[in-house]
Each structure stands twice: as C-alpha cells, then as structure tokens.
Symmetry: C2
Subunit: 198 residues, 2 copies
Amino acid sequence: MASPEIEALTQALARLPGLGPRSARRAVLHLLKKRETALTPLLRALETVSTRLSTCSTCGNVDTSDPCAICADPRRDQRSLCVVEEVADLWALERSRLFPGRFHVLGGRLSALEGVRPEDLSVDRLVARLSAGGIDEVVLATNATLEGQTTAHYIAERLEGFPVRLTRLAHGLPVGGELDYLDEGTLAQALRARRPID
Amino acid sequence: MASPEIEALTQALARLPGLGPRSARRAVLHLLKKRETALTPLLRALETVSTRLSTCSTCGNVDTSDPCAICADPRRDQRSLCVVEEVADLWALERSRLFPGRFHVLGGRLSALEGVRPEDLSVDRLVARLSAGGIDEVVLATNATLEGQTTAHYIAERLEGFPVRLTRLAHGLPVGGELDYLDEGTLAQALRARRPID
C-alpha cells in the first residue's frame, strides 16, 4: 500500500526485462533509501539518454550523434559491413573489438510466430547501402537460432547479384546461442573463422 | 561499446538490487527500443518520486505528505503501534490490511557485521513517541532473523517501564508450508508454540 507515485514507479520498473513486480518493489525501496547515490544518478542518466540519444539513420545504432560514432569513424573499414539483428548484438561485437568495419542493425529477426516480416526489418536500407557501392564484404552476424538463420538466408537471397562477398559467423556458436550472452572468446573465434556463403 | 551516456545509465541501473551489469544492459536496450512506452514513463515516474516524496517525520514511512497518509488517518487506531525494520515491511503489512494501528519504521536492524548500532535506528524517536503517551500496545514486527530478533530484544529493553503491552508476531508454520520442506528452527518454534484445538 504505497502512494500512487511509488506504485507508478514500481510498475514502470516492473516492465523492464528481468524485473518482476516484487523485484521492482525492492528496487524502488532501494531508490527511496539511497536518494543521492541511486535515485538522482538514475534520474540524470535517464534524462540524458532520453534527450540526447537518437538512432543512426545509416546503420540503426543508438548514439548521441547521427551518423553514429562508428559510421562517422574514418578509421573503420568502409568496405566491410556486419549485419546484426539488434543493437545489443552490435555492442557485443564491439566489446570484442575484432570487427574493423561498420554495422547494419536489422531491428529484429524474421519470425512467423511473432509476425515479423521482411518489411519490419531494415533490409531495404541494407540493399540501398549496397547499391550505393563501395562495400566488398557483408558479414551476416545474425543469431545462431532458427529465426536468425532464416533471416540470414533471406538477406543472402536479397543480396544476390551484388558484387560483394557474403560471409557468416563461423560455426562454433552453440545452437540456440544468442550473441549478447556469449563470451568474447567465442565471439572472437566465430568472427575470425567466418566463411563465405555458397 | 555503447556511448558514455548509455554506459552511465547501464551503471545506474546495475546498482539496483536484483540487476547486474548484463541484465542492466538488457533493460537499457529495452528502454531504448521502447522510448515512448518504457523510457518516458520511467523517467516521469522517477521525476515525480524524486520531487514529491519525503520521509514521514513521525513514523519514517515514505509518502507525498508529512505526516504520511497512515499517520494522518484519524480512522487508524492511535493506541496501537507496529514497529518494523524497513518501509518494505510496512508495505507488506499494509497489503495484508490486517493491522489497524500506526507504524514506526526503524530504518534497519542491529547488525554487528554491518556496523549498525542502536543510534543508527530511529529507536530514540520511538521512545519519544511512547513518552508522549496515548499508546497501549507496541507490536515488535521485526524479521524472524537473528538480527531482527536481536533488534526486537533491544527495543523491548529500551521500552521497559512504559505502561504498554509489548507483543511480537507469532512464529510457526507459514500458510501452505509443508513440514518436509521447512527448516528445523521453524518446526521447533511451531512445536513449542503449539496451541489447543478448539
């Protein structure tokens, strides 16, 4: 029986993945107890992110600038493009610091179950980027799940005819594994051993 | 490798109980993906709580008014006081809607391990409330942990001499508890406190 304001905060937190009603309540109590060290920093961080972040219109990454820092970095290999499902996957690959090129975030994966169709993903923009030329290699770094692989196959079909080398991350990813959960060593091996798509 | 703003938000979230670095990152991605339905409501709720909530100077509850809604409610039994460790415990008892009186939040429990001494809790304020008179019963509703019970004993000693009835929550089998799964301490207490069947 907390006040309506606290209930509203609890419900907003409870909608985050990984938090339920009970853990959200604990988090709220923590925030109320540690106003200066927990509530205020979280509020400031949320404000900053809310006002300053935008989606990169080139690759779909989230950053404070558009184009994002990766797209704007002249030291990145402009000829190599890594296609990932989500921003989380981009971050995971960036943490491994092994991919020198740029990215393309699809914004999801094809899924009959969840009703995600090709037009819901940024495939058209990927095709447009390739049509603009200057790209030699496209690494299809979708998850090693059924949906991720289906998505990779669909994109491979869509990119047929483009003079680019299509590769995918090497086997070595465990079946059902999702990039964001893998350790960097596994990611590194998968990236190093990427192979052409027949 | 997210932007510094995102890293700051991730770290602020990761400090919440129940969230680690990885789950905080997933929560941040969720917030970034669902700006309108997740990030904005959470930001608004935090702002409201941050600006409007204060601690009740009477009982230690957190509310938008001081005294809090419970202390200010004339229908609550003014003669009965329930002493709890944390605001969370007050909320838990309020959810049960069974305690008609008012509360006193200690702000923690005595703990040699965590260095929490009597002067770190609001025991002096509790004594002052009793000295002001008008209270018949004090329910010591601290947790059934070693530290909670130590705290209850300390408070009982401090309240000696006051003309109030000191009680504590009954210990025994929880509703739905199966003997086979309960610890021996609970079983022992349930057996010691066994009561005649009417």
